[in-house]
Subunit: 138 residues, 3 copies
């Protein structure tokens, strides 16, 4: 059995990190599927998806890591060519990855106690985003 859902969210861009665990849980609860996997995919090339212990300290630490390793203030060919100013956002998104799978049993996601599902929006402006959630199971 396969059910496809859309999770819509608004972000501030600029490495905004949004906890989408409540939406994922809600979409799962809307189905009759007991056991299976939630497949999450973010459309777009300047955002990624992962998990984190969602507390403001770590949110800032994760943002700082991106600024250290894939800085905004260095030259990008993408910006030179297209003038978008978001070359760093694309590179970060490709490194983080666009997909995540989270199994569930007894209608409960197999997340750790301090583990939330996040969208990281690297773009240089506020964005509306769509996460495709596909629930496969029985």
């Amino acid at each position: 059995m396969i059910v496809t859902k859309q999770i819509s969210l608004k972000t501030q861009g600029n490495c905004d990190i949004v906890d989408i665990t409540p939406q994922v849980e809600q979409k799962l609860a809307e189905t009759e599927i007991n056991s299976g996997t939630a497949i999450l995919f973010i459309a777009g090339s300047t955002a990624g998806i992962s998990t984190i212990e969602y507390e403001s300290g770590l949110v800032a630490d994760f943002q700082r890591m991106w600024e250290r390793n894939v800085p905004q203030g260095i030259p990008y060919d993408h910006d030179r060519r297209w003038g978008d100013g978001n070359g760093h956002a694309h590179v970060r998104a490709s490194l983080l990855g666009a997909s995540l799978v989270v199994p569930f049993t007894g209608r409960r996601l197999s997340l750790g106690t301090w583990q939330q599902i996040i969208v990281v929006d690297f773009d240089n402006r506020p964005r509306s985003r769509q996460v495709v959630m596909q629930i496969m199971g029985e």
Copy 2:
């Protein structure tokens, strides 16, 4: 319903980035599956898989990020031990990841408009590569 396909490609190695979206779409079109998920996995330990806006500026920007963060010109125990000269390629591949999942509905992949599926071959020589594509759906 599950269908397994192989996508074969040749790369130049040395951080060659290959857009495999056309092959993924073609393999999907060969099936009768309407809605589901394309699971992509690259066999081998010196290549990875992700998505990017596939234009030459970003391809160069992504390659430069790898050279900055996981440089070729530093000592690797792997090279010291085995003389392969591709220690950096292994480390990059483990960081990027070997798998990606992309949902589809109405026989269309849920990619963003400017989002392509890529294989990044980090090895230090041209390679033939196999991507396993498994299509699960109904």
Copy 3:
């Protein structure tokens, strides 16, 4: 057909890298599923999952990459706030990712010859870990 298994392991923490390929193969062999995908997810926010050529040189090279790019010895807001001393571990885990999918056919995982499945435990102390393995197929 969906089967859910648990892989339990003990780690040393501190970037301990554990090859779980034998356990994944054993759990797969316990099922009757011939062709499908093994979905792997690690619960917890200070460990991640990936693949590597599992030899001691690369294990050390991969650990060194983490120390270079997401160092232990810099200030983390998480540590300042909670005193856990494992801020770096959380950030590394979010970057590496908590999930991996590996297709299989003829009851054999589609891994490359020199490609093993690993859990990387970034936490700053020994831990007991649970990997949820979901096998979907027919």
